[in-house]
């Protein structure tokens, strides 16, 4: 019954609500690298002493001459990748998101994006679900600081299958691109048949009362929230905004027009990320009441990923709450 609301064109996994497989999205990146190695000999990988953590080790075993271990020196690594691109390589810089987007931010901006070199960033260990390592290793501002740079594309794969597709796509199209990947296991909700086009948001659940725009693991949380809210007669549309930049303006405006109110949900600060990107589109085109679910301008801490999602209020419960709050505004306006 519930599944009737899922968009059949999205070919989601049949067991979405029944113990979906749990896989870190970084694994999809690692698998894609193996295929890319075969497909294009110009694909090379640079790592910052975290080769296995970012799942580049198998590529290194298969193509030892195309994995460059750069040591613990991320700023250098980013600019070296720019140089590799200048001579025709397709470099993937693979390290933790906090170091890729944070430590090496200006190298990403000026060496890579200003030059518009063909560098791909595999920013693993995104978000707060990094868990026990604590706030020094959580990347909760990465999307915000990456998407403000001109020329870059920013993608948050929803699961390991989408991560694989995004990685393969990244190597095929020219230009700087950042993939935000997870350390923690995320539910596999898509299939090989699910459409994936960079820049095109996927409506994965139909609904007319409110739209939830979500990215990464929050897409699944949004589906769970929608399922709960359905029992209360609230009809929630869920959109997987895997590409935060360039953002799918058309999809956002259409959904806002059709549902009247929107919620955003992301594993990121509620400032600067998906919520901000959606707000930017709506405020200039079709302002509607909106609520953002995200980390509320604080640093995280050590803990299990799930515990942190609960403590920092980014679970399906928080989405459901935001939906109800924003719906009150809808009726107030009417």
């Amino acid at each position: 019954m519930v599944n009737q609301k899922l968009n059949p064109d999205m070919k989601l996994a049949e067991n979405v609500f029944n113990n979906p497989e749990m896989i870190p999205t970084r694994n999809g990146f690692g698998e894609a690298l193996l295929e890319l190695g075969e497909e294009n000999k110009n694909v090379v990988v640079l790592t910052g002493d975290l080769t296995e953590s970012v799942r580049a080790h198998k590529f290194g075993e298969k193509y030892p001459n195309r994995l460059f271990r750069m040591g613990i020196a991320e700023q250098n690594m980013m600019s070296v990748a720019a140089g590799l691109s200048a001579v025709g390589k397709i470099p993937f810089v693979a390290t933790f998101s906090i170091f890729a987007t944070g430590r090496a931010w200006e190298q990403l901006r000026t060496s890579v994006c200003y030059n518009e070199f063909n560098v791909k960033i595999a920013a693993s260990h995104g978000g707060i679900t990094v868990g026990e390592d604590g706030a020094s290793h959580h990347a909760t501002e990465d999307i915000g600081i990456a998407r403000v740079i001109p020329n870059i594309k920013v993608i948050i794969p929803v699961d390991s299958i989408e991560a694989k597709k995004a990685t393969i796509e990244a190597a095929r199209i020219y230009g700087p691109m950042l993939l935000r990947l997870s350390r923690d296991k995320f539910p596999v909700i898509t299939t090989n048949e699910t459409p994936f086009e960079i820049g095109k948001a996927n409506v994965i659940r139909f609904g007319d009362d409110v739209t939830v725009f979500a990215s990464g693991v929050m897409v699944y949380e949004s589906l769970l929230a929608a399922k709960t809210l359905e029992k209360e007669g609230i009809d929630v549309r869920v959109v997987n905004v895997h590409t935060v930049k360039p953002i799918d303006e058309k999809a956002i405006i259409t959904a806002a027009k059709e549902t009247g109110v929107v919620v955003t949900a992301e594993e990121h600060q509620h400032i600067g990320g998906l919520g901000s990107a959606v707000a930017e589109v709506l405020i200039e085109n079709y302002p509607v009441p909106m609520k953002r679910v995200g980390i509320r301008d604080v640093f995280g801490e050590s803990g299990k990923p799930r515990e942190l999602m609960e403590k920092y209020r980014i679970t399906s419960k928080d989405i459901a709450k935001a939906v109800k709050e924003v719906l009150k505004k809808k009726f107030a306006y009417n």
Partner: protein, 281 residues
Amino acid sequence: MSFIYWGGKNMQDNLKAVANNIRKDIIKMTAEAGSGHPGGSLSCVEILVSLYFSVMNHKPEDPEWEGRDRFVLSKGHAAPALYAVLARSGYFPLEELATLRKLNSRLQGHPHRKSLPGIEASTGSLGQGFSIAVGMALGLKSDSRPNKVYVLLGDGEIQEGQVWEAANTASHYKLDNLIAILDHNGLQIDGHVKDVMNIYPIEKKWEAFGWDVITVDDGHDFEKLLAAFEKAKQQKGRPTIIIANTVKGKGVSFMENRAEWHGKAPTKEQAEIALRELETW
């Protein structure tokens, strides 16, 4: 200040006993947490014990004491070692060690200044702690204050460009109140430091950057470490780095010199074996 242990051979025996307890703490803490960094914690135990139980001026009962020397764990992932040393110095109750890496704990995965007394700077992002220590030394020296600043670096960590920017700054400002220690265990996550991204010759590099270099051939030997610190304290006109040759995973046979034990916690069974080994060490 040697507030618990006093001079001579006896002191070194006492320090050894403390070090052994701290090794056990590290094993118990990481096993209990189910994650963490035992390898690089075990390699710096004697260095930290020397500092906190003999070399440094500090008052655990008054962590903000003006007269204290500063210590920065630039290789922040060795937090378990630092926490155990702080607890055994009296900064907080030993029982709290069991909360490492758990939700709401003061013992964050990497040291956090705002959550635990005795932590001078939040670290974990390699290279930054060293620069923070340089800033502390610069500020203290410009006010002609006598406090020293100690900072512990990993040998993989010195691949960071920031480390060499800081090294340059320290010698430029003649920071003779700054004493760096390099935990020279030869390993990082991806393998041997010399294979991943060669850093050698390290002595010559630090000398070329204007530092006085003291090499301690066995960084687990208190007599040698304490002598090196004594010498470093007398330094005038430039900063000192003590290059301490250590063994990653020291004290636990199956962890020694194995990169795979960098960031992996022992299982309960492995922890028991490790603790038994340390019992008779």
